[in-house]
Structures are given as structure tokens and as C-alpha cells.
């Protein structure tokens, strides 16, 4: 229903006059409002079954107006009808002499639904840059708001340059002026730094920042958890972003705020979206084209959620990255090594920690400066406030990745040894750490791990004493393309160490 509503300008919601406003009526009205529909018609049907009782109609009307009062709509019309008898469908009915406003069809034919977006200012997200030859450089896109004339000055976002419009094409026709909704090609009078995802505008008030507050409709079968990283598509831009600070859910029926821990399909939440880089956006209320977004799962590529920007958040401007004179390169040079993070992942009992430990010993013996992060030195200190819930596990991995990166910045060769079962989390770690991330998959089969059961954990998990135990009651998503893979059930510890160290050397040159 949300998909359909996202394309609609107006919605007709039906209620049964004998039933009045029910839960589903509220749900539908709320989704319509969220998706940007500004005009609602409530058709109070089956008026014939309540003897065309004006009081019934008035009661329903009042209740609906009360419900929609907070929705920021441009128009609400409540029409008493009977679908089977045809009352107030094509023309006003004699059965409802107390209703003198428009019947349903004439109302739909006459209402103006042109969006009340900011018509003062021109806004066009750039879909692509057309360069058929050396002389032509056109920015193609659809006008999202306002109008633009040849000779007008535009601002390019995010580069914030100014240029004058040299020519305008609406499809293949030269025009002096273009309007909202038209597919256009804009040529400017000078070179500007503009590519797909940039925005041409005449407005000075569009946000360019890396965080916003949003209302999000979750659409994926997998639940939403705070801290997960997705691709955010907004306008023609696409950037990695993380769902942060899930504040509360909105009960879609009552509109009330309810606490949010996990968020399931079809639920509505207030949260913040933190982006990897600056993005150009606007409040959805102000401009649908720059205020609606979708979240794309980075592993399955599903469209997992869709949302609307409520307002920008200025986090980034408050924290200025401290530039230091001694750089990462200088620190690494001093130690005579290339700092990388060796990220060991695998099941409990797969031999990750044993192997990481041996690899570290070997590297130290050949003159490398190293640091090993594992459960013991991280869980008991830095992360001791984290439990084993899913969002805690995500935060655990995030902190480890950030620490590993700092260690790399310090010039150290860093090893981490954590189960890290989710592709998404490892992907995020890879993003935080950057090019120096080397994924080592310790692919010892589950049966072997369970046979070893060094800490007796598998037995406990099988007896139901440990919930969410990876490999038993919680999934392990094996890396698809690990940089290094080793199955410790096939080799002695020494052979395995030899192999891994040999592979690691390729990344240290």
C-alpha cells in the first residue's frame, strides 16, 4: 500500500457508515500522510443502511478530522455515499439534502492536487552528465521544484559554485524556461564540478551535511537493528549510511510512541541516519524529491526500508578532525612496516585465536610491531558495557574496527580474532579500516569445531543453556571472497601458520 501511496496525489479512503472509523481507516490515513499525500477523501459508504442519518455522518466526520488534524494535509473532504444506490457518486443525492457539498466524482474531477512544494526555487537532482562532444556538456534530470530561465544563476551542490544558465532543453526541444516535472538538459556558461548525484538549484537553504533525522518504514523480512549499515538512495545520490538512535516506534494505528528495540516489517520508527559523506537533501515536507529515501541492504541488495527526512542534524560540524603533524605514514615508516589489520573470522573453536597468536609470534620474530585484539582484552575493558544482544554485537564489532584502525594509524600491524558472523558487520569493519583490511576466514567445519569444543560451549548451546550461539542457534554467514582462507582441520598448527604468514606477506610489501 505504501508503494501505491508514494505515487498518488490524492487518496479516497472508504469507511462503512455502520462501523465508523476503524483501526484500518487510521492505519491507511497515516500511511498516506507519511508518503506525502496531501489530499484525502473519506467516502462514508453504505449510507442507505443507516437511513441517511446526518448525525452518523457528522460523528464519523468529526472523528476523522480529529485523526487527520496532525497530518499536515492540504484538504480533507468527507462525503456520504452509497455505492450500491449511487448516492452522491456522480451527482448530489436527494436522500441527503443536508449534504450540499460536491459529490464524489465531480469532487475528484475539480480538485487541484498540484503539489505545494517550494515553487519559488528551482531544484534539479542531476541524473547524468551528457557529453556527446567537446562543445556540449549538459546536466540531465527532472525538475523537482520551481522553474528556471536561460540567463538565471544557479548554485551547484554540494560544490556550491555559481554559474549562469546558457541553454535549456526539454527532451529534444530548446526552451527559454523549464518547469517542475519536465525532463530537461541544462547547459551552464562555465565549468563546474557536477556529476550524477549533484543538485542544481536557486535555493540557498538546502542542506549539505552527513546526518539527518527521519521517519522510516521498515520493509524487510529481516528486522532492523540499530547500528546496521545500508546504502542510502536519495534523489540521484547513493551513499553508505548507518541507522542510529532509534528513538521510538510509532503505533501505526494510534499514532502513539512506543519503545523500539527491534523493528519488524511494516513498522514505523523515528531514527537518525548517519552518512559516510555529505549528502544534499531537504525536508520531505518541503521537497519530496530531495526528502524521500530508501535503504538498500548491502548484501542482499533488497530495498529494506523507505523513509522521509524530518530535519537535518549538525553533528559533523561540531567535531573537527584533528590534523596532526606526525602522520600515519611517518609512524609506519619509523617501524619499517606497512600497517594492516588481519581480521580473523570463523566459528567458535575453529582455531582463530590459536592461529592469530601463532601468526603474531612469527611476525614479531621477524621484526614486526604488532597488536592482537581478542575477546579477552576487549570484552573486559573497552566493551565491558556491551552484552550479547544483536545491537550490542554490532557495536562491539564497530568499536573493534575503530580501535584496529587507530592501531594501524599508530603504525602497528593489527590482528583481530572475533567470530564476527555477519557479512554486514564485516563489511562495515572493512569500510572503517579501509584498504588495509585483510579478511582471514578460518573455515574449519562446524562438526570439527563441535568435536573440539575446548570451552564446552557447544554442549551448553545444544542443551539450550546458551541462546543465540553461532553455528547452533544463530547463523554464521561465511565470507564469499575472503583474502585468505584456511581450514585448520586439514593441517597441523605449524603448517597452517606457515600458510597464513606466507599469504599475509603479500599484503605487507
Amino acid at each position: 500500500m505504501a508503494v501505491g501511496a508514494s505515487f498518488a496525489d490524492l487518496a479516497v479512503i472508504l469507511v462503512d457508515a455502520t462501523q465508523g472509523v476503524v483501526t484500518q481507516t487510521k492505519r491507511h490515513a497515516r500511511i498516506c500522510a507519511l508518503m506525502g499525500i496531501k489530499h484525502l477523501v473519506l467516502a462514508v459508504n453504505k449510507m442507505d443502511l443507516v437511513d441517511y442519518d446526518q448525525q452518523k455522518y457528522e460523528d464519523i466526520k468529526q472523528e476523522f478530522l480529529q485523526l487527520t488534524d496532525s497530518f499536515n494535509l492540504d484538504s480533507v473532504q468527507v462525503i456520504p455515499v452509497s455505492a450500491t444506490e449511487g448516492d452522491n457518486i456522480t451527482k448530489n443525492s436527494d436522500n441527503t439534502p443536508w449534504y450540499q457539498e460536491s459529490a464524489l466524482l465531480p469532487y475528484l474531477e475539480n480538485i487541484v492536487v498540484t503539489d505545494d512544494v517550494d515553487m519559488e526555487h528551482f531544484v534539479m537532482p542531476v541524473q547524468r552528465v551528457s557529453r556527446p562532444n567537446h562543445t556540449f556538456r549538459g546536466f540531465q534530470g527532472q525538475v523537482e521544484a520551481g522553474a528556471l530561465k536561460v540567463g538565471d544563476e544557479v548554485i551547484t551542490l554540494p560544490s556550491k559554485e555559481k554559474a549562469t544558465v546558457k541553454s535549456l532543453l526539454v527532451t529534444d526541444q530548446e526552451e527559454d524556461e523549464v518547469f517542475v516535472g519536465q525532463p530537461v538538459t541544462v547547459q551552464l556558461d562555465r565549468e563546474v564540478d557536477v556529476s550524477r548525484g549533484c543538485v542544481l538549484t536557486t535555493s540557498e537553504s538546502i542542506s549539505v551535511t552527513d546526518m539527518f533525522n527521519a521517519t522510516l518504514l521498515w520493509m524487510d523480512d529481516t528486522e532492523l537493528v540499530e547500528g546496521r549499515n545500508y546504502l542510502v538512495k536519495l534523489g540521484t545520490q547513493m551513499l553508505p549510511g548507518t541507522v542510529m538512535n532509534i528513538k521510538h516506534k510509532i503505533d501505526i494505528n494510534t499514532g502513539q510512541e512506543v519503545p523500539a528495540d527491534k523493528v519488524y516489517k511494516n513498522e514505523l520508527v523515528k531514527c537518525d541516519i548517519s552518512l559516510a559523506e555529505d549528502m544534499v537533501f531537504d525536508k520531505f515536507d518541503h521537497n519530496e524529491g530531495l526528502g524521500g529515501f530508501i535503504l538498500i541492504d548491502r548484501v542482499t541488495n533488497m530495498t529494506s526500508g523507505s523513509g522521509v527526512v524530518e530535519h537535518e542534524l549538525r553533528r559533523s560540524t561540531n567535531v573537527v578532525w584533528q590534523d596532526t603533524d606526525i602522520s600515519r605514514e611517518i609512524r609506519a615508516q619509523q617501524k619499517g612496516q606497512k600497517p594492516v589489520t588481519l581480521w580473523f573470522t570463523g566459528l567458535s573453536g575453529s582455531g582463530k585465536s590459536t592461529l592469530a597468536n601463532e601468526v603474531e609470534k612469527r611476525l614479531v620474530s621477524t621484526g614486526h610491531h604488532t597488536m592482537l585484539l581478542d575477546g579477552d582484552n576487549v570484552r573486559h575493558g573497552l566493551n565491558k558495557n556491551l552484552g550479547f544482544k544483536e545491537q550490542d554485537r554490532i557495536e562491539n564489532i564497530r568499536r573493534i574496527a575503530e580501535v584496529a584502525k587507530l592501531m594501524n594509524d599508530a603504525g602497528l600491524l593489527t590482528m583481530t580474532s572475533f567470530i564476527s558472523p555477519y557479512e554486514n558487520d564485516r563489511q562495515q569493519a572493512r569500510e572503517i579500516i579501509g584498504d588495509d583490511f585483510v579478511e582471514i576466514y578460518v573455515s574449519t567445519p562446524l562438526e570439527e569445531c563441535e568435536k573440539r569444543d575446548v570451552k564446552g560451549l557447544y554442549e551448553k548451546a545444544r542443551n539450550g543453556e546458551i541462546p543465540n550461539f553461532t553455528g547452533v542457534s544463530s547463523p554464521y554467514e561465511a565470507p564469499e571472497n575472503p583474502d585468505i582462507e584456511i581450514d585448520t582441520s586439514q593441517y597441523s598448527l605449524e603448517e597452517a601458520t606457515d600458510y597464513v604468514v606466507k599469504q599475509v606477506m603479500k599484503y605487507l610489501d
Binding site: 547524468r128 518547469f179 516535472g181 541488495n301 530495498t303
Partner: protein, 299 residues
């Protein structure tokens, strides 16, 4: 403030979709069937990128049994417009002599569906534009604009992505591909009105003209070349006929008609539909379009 007409809005939407694919997909192709919908889609692609040529090739799946006038039209248009036109035929099956007379239902699968898959695989296309519309049949009504196919080109209705606003998710996993339908929201009436408004050239077979035909099982089949096998008692007649859809000539039924101008065609094609609209639209639309299909000679 100017507001866009109904056709302007449909055009803007289709152009937006076509540009999104060009910007986000690595190796797109536009399927071209030579029919009226393909003619509209080609026209939109030209307008979307003007003055640049469309930044992707076109591909026609040729069963070797198309009307000769279609092939002439295809080759002339590609040359006139300076676009790259790939022609894909299931060569092996053609050599084996697969034909519409002897191989019935399998023929379409072998010469059309298989040939299409061969063409997409051969060139490694990750997105293929098609001219499908939601009003064509019930099963298409739920189809997305961007429709995802697995490695075997199969459609999994459960695994499609919700499409919100204009935010199309074009990300695919390795081996998957997309079919993209920029005309999804158009109706047959929109197509004809747009052809008239934009003065788009269509294959002359749509216009009534005296043509050599035979009558077979209540259908009028044109004898387009000497591969057409006549059955006992069948006799070639010269009748003024035209075609409402175009495909393989032995499988495409024509209608007797005098409509030899665009206005007359529109009148003839849409007259029945618009009169249906005056009463209950929903029920009769579905029934009406099925009926129309039979009349059009879909087997």
C-alpha cells in the same frame, strides 16, 4: 505555473527511468520488436539523451518469420537514426528448420524466449528495456518497473523490490539481471495518442491496404512469402486488411478494415474501449481486453 498534460507526465516518467538505467547500469540494452510500443520506446530513448545518441544498443529477436515489411522498417530506421541494432536469432534452431507450422507452442519458446536469453547472455547485458505495459494483462499488473531475474532469467514474484517514489533500486547480485519497463503505466490509448502527438512513424502494416491473405480458423493470415504452406481448399485472396499487433506473419491475424490513416486507426482501436468506459469500468475492461486479444489473433 504551467502544469504538464497527462502524456507529458507519462513521457517525463519514462525518460526518467531510461536515464536512470543509463546512469546506473553497466551494460544495458533496449529490446526492439518493431511494433508500435517499441517505436514509442525508441522515440523516448532518442528524446531522453538528445543531442547525444542513446548510450546503449538496441536488440531485435528475429524468429526469421517476421513480416518482410517489419524487417525493412527495422533496418531503415536503424540506419536513419544512426543507432546500433543487434539482431539475435536462434541460429541452431533455424538450421534445424523449427517453424511455426510444425512446432506449435514450442516454436515461440525456441525462437523467441531462447533466442532472447542467448542474446542477453552473449553480450552480458545486465539490464534490458522492454515495452511491456501493466494494462496488457493481469499478470503484468503487479510487475515492477524494474523486474529482477535470476541467473536463468527466471522471474521470482516474491523476490521483487518495493518501488517508492522515483527511487529505483538497480543493485543486483552477480549473474542476475533486470528487465525494465518504462511504459509500465501507459495504456494502449496513451500509446496511440502519443504516436499521433509526436508524429512517430510506425510499420505500414498497421494501416489498411490490399494484401494477399487466406482465411484459416477464423483468422486472416497474410501470405507474406512462399514459405506459407496452403492447406487443401485454401485460396489466396486480396483483401483490404490491417494488423493491430505485429509478430510472426503466420501467427498474426489481421482484420478487414478501411482504416488507412492514424485517426481512423485510433478511432477503430479505441472506439470499443471508450464506449465500455461509460458503464462499469473495472469488470468490462478485463473482459474487453481478453476479447480484443482474441480478435487480434493471438493464438
Amino acid at each position: 505555473m504551467k502544469t504538464l498534460s497527462h502524456l507529458d507526465q507519462l513521457e517525463a516518467e519514462a525518460i526518467y527511468i531510461i536515464r536512470e538505467v543509463a546512469a546506473e547500469c553497466e551494460n544495458p540494452v533496449m529490446l526492439y520488436s518493431i511494433g508500435k510500443d517499441s517505436s514509442v520506446m525508441l522515440h523516448l530513448a532518442l528524446k531522453a539523451f538528445y543531442p547525444e545518441k542513446p548510450p546503449f544498443p538496441f536488440m531485435h529477436v528475429d524468429t526469421t518469420w517476421k513480416f518482410r515489411e517489419m524487417i525493412e522498417f527495422r533496418d531503415r530506421k536503424a540506419k536513419e537514426l544512426g543507432i546500433e541494432m543487434l539482431v539475435q536469432t536462434n541460429e541452431e534452431a533455424a538450421k534445424q528448420g523449427i517453424n511455426p507450422f510444425d512446432h506449435g507452442a514450442n516454436y515461440t519458446d525456441i525462437m523467441k524466449t531462447q533466442a532472447l536469453k542467448q542474446g542477453l547472455d552473449k553480450h552480458g547485458f545486465d539490464a534490458a528495456f522492454g515495452g511491456g505495459r501493466r494494462d496488457e494483462e493481469k499478470s503484468r499488473a503487479k510487475e515492477r518497473v524494474f523486474s529482477f531475474r535470476n541467473q536463468n532469467h527466471a522471474w521470482d514474484p516474491k523476490n521483487q523490490k518495493p518501488e517508492m517514489w522515483k527511487l529505483y533500486n538497480t543493485r543486483i547480485n552477480k549473474g542476475e539481471s533486470m528487465r525494465v519497463f518504462p511504459l509500465s503505466n501507459w495504456t494502449e490509448k496513451d500509446i496511440w495518442q502519443y504516436i499521433k502527438k509526436e508524429d512517430i512513424e510506425i510499420v505500414p502494416l498497421y494501416y489498411a491496404k490490399e494484401r494477399p491473405v487466406i482465411y484459416r480458423d477464423d483468422n486472416i493470415i497474410m501470405v507474406d512469402d512462399d514459405r506459407m504452406k496452403l492447406e487443401p481448399g485454401e485460396e489466396v485472396q486480396h483483401k483490404k486488411v490491417r494488423f493491430r499487433t505485429l509478430g510472426c506473419y503466420p501467427l498474426t491475424g489481421g482484420i478487414e478494415s478501411d482504416a488507412d490513416t492514424l485517426d481512423e486507426i485510433i478511432e477503430e482501436t479505441l472506439g470499443a474501449v471508450s464506449s465500455e468506459r461509460t458503464s462499469r469500468v473495472i469488470d468490462q475492461e478485463a473482459a474487453g481486453s481478453m476479447e480484443r486479444r482474441k480478435r487480434e489473433g493471438y493464438f
